[in-house]
Symmetry: C3
Subunit: 337 residues, 3 copies
């Protein structure tokens, strides 16, 4: 196979196991780049051909030089921006799966909000100041990662006391939608121009997902403040009558990205983080423009991926499949940056 001349590489975190297992299953060589503390961990897995240890992620640019001209393709995931920042990602010189211009729109809450709104999908209201807010609201710091840096607020007074913890950080005040969360994992192929839904999940958040198990009178006594730190995921399927809208939402966001970002727009894996209200309206709260950790539930495929594929098709494997098809069809440049 032609693709066996290529190596798929990623950083040791987030969804690296899924990405490299998928790459291995599609016939690629695999490379995991990590700091010393995780070396031993990633060496446990038989589908990782090589573990490259760098002293710290700030040393990545040096490591990158040695990896040049070796047919290595980097697959970014949710920790790339945390480790390198948007600018660090843009400066990478190895072939990178995805459109780096999308990173600006993902990282900047204003740009992201504008992109989602102009896509025509449903989004929650935003309030420029606490004075105009309709309560309850959810307040998100601009740099919030993995669910930390969020709080709920039920009044102006309550807001004023809680916002002090943000230490002057920028924030967003959003309508708090009462409904259930659903994370929809998409893949958009630049080869076929088609949207696929790969899987769906719900985040497992500490301590928000524990509060419900404590009766209200205990909560009175102990004054538990909810936090939304994501430590895992659990699987879900969506009511079939809402699936057509879920597909359309993915298509609208991709179509708008081609106007707003550049003509390549968003491609590869992405996730719409939604709230479904009792009126069965699907509101999009955020977009993640890369593979999300919820796909780790579906390393052996999902009910949705089985509608399109005979093999157990994870999102990680889907990325590798796209690269393989890109190689076979001499269209690899369509998907690399």
């Amino acid at each position: 196979m032609k693709n066996s001349r290529y190596t798929i590489a990623t950083l040791g975190s987030h969804s690296a196991l899924q990405i490299l297992k998928g790459a291995h299953d599609e016939g690629f060589k695999t490379l995991l780049i990590t700091t010393p503390s995780r070396k031993e961990f990633y060496q446990r897995f038989p589908f990782i051909d090589q573990v490259l240890v760098i002293e710290s992620f700030s040393r990545f640019p040096e490591a990158e030089k040695k990896l040049k001209n070796k047919n290595i393709i980097i697959i970014p995931h949710g920790s790339f921006v945390a480790y390198f920042g948007v600018e660090g990602n843009k400066k990478m010189t190895l072939p990178y799966f995805g459109n780096k211009k999308v990173l600006d729109f993902e990282a900047d809450r204003k740009k992201q909000g504008s992109w989602l709104r102009s896509s025509g999908i449903k989004v929650p209201k935003e309030f420029a100041t606490i004075g105009e807010a309709e309560f309850p609201v959810i307040v998100k710091s601009y740099g919030a990662a993995g669910g930390a840096g969020y709080f709920l607020s039920s009044s102006k007074k309550d807001f004023k006391s809680k916002i002090k913890n943000f230490d002057g950080e920028k924030y967003l005040i959003q309508q708090y939608l009462v409904g259930v969360p659903l994370y929809i994992h998409y893949f958009y192929s630049p080869l076929t121009n088609k949207i696929e839904i790969m899987s769906m999940d719900r985040r497992y958040e500490t301590n928000a997902d524990a509060i419900g198990r404590i009766p209200s009178r205990y909560q009175r006594d102990v004054r538990i403040e909810p936090s939304f730190v994501v430590v895992g995921n659990s699987p879900l399927v969506l009511r079939e009558s809402l699936l057509p809208e879920a597909f359309r939402m993915g298509e609208q966001v991709v179509a708008e990205s081609k106007k707003k970002i550049d003509n390549r727009g968003l491609f590869g894996p992405f996730c719409l983080e939604t709230i479904i209200t009792p009126g069965q309206e699907i509101y999009t709260i955020e977009i993640s423009a890369r593979i999300v950790a919820g796909t780790n539930l579906f390393i052996e495929g999902s009910p949705y991926s089985s509608l399109f594929y005979k093999e157990p098709m994870s999102t990680g494997r889907r990325i590798a499949r796209e690269i393989k098809l890109g190689i076979e069809n001499h269209k690899l440049e369509l998907m690399l940056d």
Copy 2:
């Protein structure tokens, strides 16, 4: 294969993807009947051989005439009664998988309650009037579909204020059992006279499944009324020591249906919707006498179906398998209406 001369058909909603994928995997041709707005959606899937568009579901009888004598078998699902009513289902002339007489017992809460009670399985208490109720109660409108049209009530006064929203609709007052929900997906084969448990799930309800994530003092401020609109499903397994009872419950309900409904009784897929109390008693709240949407989690099989089948056996595929065996054994008439 003999069955390749047959086409399995259903309506575009609920569990249509699972049903048609299962039919395809068992060697049948597949037909999806839908209204214009969902045409594009169902055409995405490679296992659907034909999408037939009708202007509205009220035009189904005309469409049906053209489909006559073409070896088409209709598989009903949870949207059939919503689209056509019980009478509309009975008037269908194409071969229909299942016993239409069961529809009367499923649709009428009194008949259904009587069937379940006389089966000898545990059911919650019902109160003829609010005067005799033991609180808390759950109040269900007779025509409630998909979880809407339910409310909880903790007192007579509370009940009187909420019942006004029902606008004179008929309702049922039931003991509210404090325990966890479990939906058990059965299949009863008229060929082998055996019960199988295919899978289990829990419904994902908006906003009931979000309330627990909001601390009680926020709930005080915002006065959220719980609603039980089903928008998805999540997987569960049952403690093994309760499985023998789960199998027996399915058998009891089927046995009683042969006395109460007609000698064919209930067959094919059905679901008991249960609440399990802290005393580990399994109460049945409702029966769905056809495939339920929770089976959509298990398009690639479940821990339970893997106990009986080597292939990934969804409930949709199990229906197709039964029809295939019916054809091979010249016993198709056992399962069609």
Copy 3:
């Protein structure tokens, strides 16, 4: 195959279906031992070659005599101690998978606490008397099984009223950690000396998992006391950045068992029952030193087992695989007691 001369046997409860299906898939004969009421249930399953009925579990020693010298290997699960006590397990004469000395450390809360603490993993604080407690606390009776015999307490006064229900039974007062539960299913191989993570779950507890769906003001009216009776399980995956710690925790517990218990220590399947706090700290609440019921979700494998195995590898099948490898390598004595 050599292993086809052996029969794998277990008692009819807990995870027996998974254990015997796994044994069957690895080429063993299978035997299920049960009391009369469950005979019919276990005979439903095609992978169970023989069902042996004994009048009551107290008659097991007699049955055991007849099974001698027939190459039968017993796989214990979570009901063995409930049925026979620790002493009854130790008196078994048939070859028994696992180290029976571990049972003393699992059954005695003080010994277990000491083992976990000296392993160096994080554990909740324990309070010798209610006087020194920091509230809220969780109070567990020493003999608690399956989640019954637990209560939460928010004050000394509250504790005094609730402890009366324990009727003088011994109990443990533990810091109540506010965070989300995660049950991690491990397998430690005495052949390779390696730890594997097979799968993860969350318990489904009645009525604790229903309380969150009831708004706080209803809870005020009906005064629901939470109970933690386990009736099922639901699947989870853990954030990848926490996985290295999860593996290390398993290794630390095993390493410590070799010092504290005997030189064989703990091997085969076990489970760490953890709480993950908003600070992403993983606290271990309890250890189960045998297969746990949460593995029943993964009869067809899990996202984690698929990282190590091409076949759908349940924990039950993993046990059978270890025995098979033990037979082939003439090292069966390493794993039997």
